[in-house]
Amino acid sequence: MLVRLRIRRYDPESDEEARWAEHVVEVEPSSRVLDALLEVQRRHDPSLGFRASCGHGVCGSDAMIINGRSALACKTLIRDAIADSPDDDLATITVEPMRHMPVLRDLIVDQQPFFQRYRAVKPFLVPKDTAPDRERLQTPKEHAEIADATNCILCGACVSACPILGENPRFLGPAAIVQAARFVFDSRDVGLQARREPLDEDNGVWPCANHMACTRACPREIKVTRLINLTKRELGRARDQAEV
């Protein structure tokens, strides 16, 4: 079938500002939006810039805005992307770079600030004891506490979808908090005490106002808002204990 791709483009060397480009491409309903972008790149305009690698939703390279929603291009099928198109016209899919990240070229955004926030939460095990000869024990129940957060592939879709970041660009953002939660709730980790800064600050977890946009955007179906709230609760507990 034919679909029209409407792509937000920007070349820093030749464009004063971002512009729209349109291409009509041949794809299958079961193809991925990524396939449509590859088709443009291969047969229409090789200069179209986007990141992609694994092509099946585990490497996190191709997060972008598809029809206004943050998603992975490799995990969004054409048939779903055109579901809302009117029947009488050529189905159109609109593709834009992620929000809250500077555009470098076309759909490629600068993720350095994103990864700086990730690094700020100490995203590594801070063990609470010295390692035994064999494995540390962790029961399935304890493991279940972190399983959801370990799904995160740091694609940035949740950050792109977050309405709070529109008002407060200094908000730590959902992805970094998920990564913090992954260790805060790990039975083998010292948890919160290593990460109160930057979590328990004005721009830490607190600006989140439960819009749930991150949870809806997450291509890994992580309950992002829930993890933010659990982290808030843990911080509240720590504060209460400090007062006692």
């Binding site: 070349d11 820093p12 099946h56 490497c59 099928l77 990864f115 399935p140």
Partner: protein, 591 residues
Amino acid sequence: MQEHIVDALIVGAGGAGLYAALECGRLARTAVLSKLHPLRSHTGAAQGGIGAALGNVEEDETLWHAFDTVKGGDYLVDQRAAQILAEDAVQAVYDLEHQGLPFSRLPDGRIDQRRFGGHTRDLGRAPVRRACYAADRTGHMILQTLYQQCIKHDVAFYDEFQVVDVLLSEPQGGDAPRCLGVVALELATGDLHAFRAKAVLLATGGWGRIYRITSNAYANTGDGPALLARRGVPLQDMEFVQFHPTGIREIGILITEAVRGEGGVLHNGEGERFMERYAPTLMDLAPRDMVSRAIVNEIRQGRGILGDRSPADFVQLDATPVGAEALKRKLPEIVSLCRTYLGIDPAAEPIPVQPTAHYVMGGIPTDLDGRVVWMPNNGSESYVSGLYAAGECACVSVHGANRLGTNSLVDLVVFGRRAGQHMSGYVAEGPAPSWPTDAAQEVMGRLATLRDRSQRSAHLSATDLRERMQAIMNEAVGVYRRGDELDRAVETLQALRQAYGALEIEDTSKSFNGELLRLLELGNLLDLALITAGSARQRRESRGAHYREDYVERDDDAWLHHTLCWLHGDDLRFGSRSVDTSIWEPVARAY
């Protein structure tokens, strides 16, 4: 051109590169250069598990793991290397756990283990639960854990830098050359950077993208081995390519062997569990080469689901015996992939599968410490000083003619670490190599030619060339191979390489010039495709994943040796290296 001076430079930031960086970075000034952000590396796509004889669930021994690896590789495995793989795997898993890897657990809190193809107890008697796992995202968790440790230890990264040349000194007389560093293209700016280093480790991963149907990422273009082949380093055992039996039909996305490890079974078009006929003991958990061959054979006999004997035909992987609850808990990724790409629930419906190009057993020949072998014109063997390789791009060889499931992750961790350790010792001695003033001239000239579109008269586009290469590789250098087909593949690939020289590039911009990057990658793929097809043509026997319909028997008298292939301009030359069979005498392989 910007210059950087480091002690140790690691190219590639998957499991092997990151582990080497952690080890080497303790003692030496180390930098990691990667074409992708490290977390995008293809190690993250590994699903099912990492094999180690912990014996947490049932009795197991490292000796059994080593034996299974040797037998799984159809005796082309270097046996001392397999022994190290199996022995070091145990500590490697504990180390990963200590670094925070969230392994799936047994009720008592120890690491759970499950079955995987070709892993047995007591030298082949029955399947054994050896694969440690983190649901079905084990590779994702290994990649994340190692990257987390790199952040903790402040490893220096150059993300989105594409390596475009590996510089070796001119060999003096009969001596091996020395590695001087690499030249890389910064994707964001289009600038070239020279990295002078005492030692370089290549960990650039596989090149499954030479095939049309593959589980591999777009980035898997074999950059390291292709560059070395052009610098006179022979590549080893390139004919051995693993086709994973259960890729999603047509699109090639991997459905982990752990589905069968947890109880899933394969059915043909007649509803028969056909693996009973091919491997009576291990059945669906036979090694991958045997299962892939069985699937293609069923299809060729008209017993595929379509029954039309066409290459588009497929079989079904029935995951319903696993049960809905276990699928959700132990294989959530598979449930999600099936839902997303097939619109089915694997707890209720079978998964349509066919073999998908998955892993290359061959690559850059190394010793047990990752040192790259130098062997001019099939002469005496030595090492390129300061040059290392690890992971899928290397050939130690622990996988021989067919890798066992879970052993790729073991390989990354065990040999990535060993190479990193050896490297840190190597760079502690002696000064940095002198860097000739014209060192980067050649690559600069090559890039200038690629960027100069004025002199071209291309009839074919890069897209045409890539698609033709992938088509001929799928048709003629697949699960079954035949001399005349391999002749056709080599001829076609030579013609495509000729056409490559006339390609033109439309995009002249510098920042994120993806067209230029893809052109460089295509050049690497074409060279590796040619070496793969040529190596397959010269090996006139069937062994592991290399099955010749015109030479159906394994022939130890003539072919129990590693293939070496040198790329001399447009010619391929072949030689051999002996296989270490010091522990087990090669015998016929049955499961």
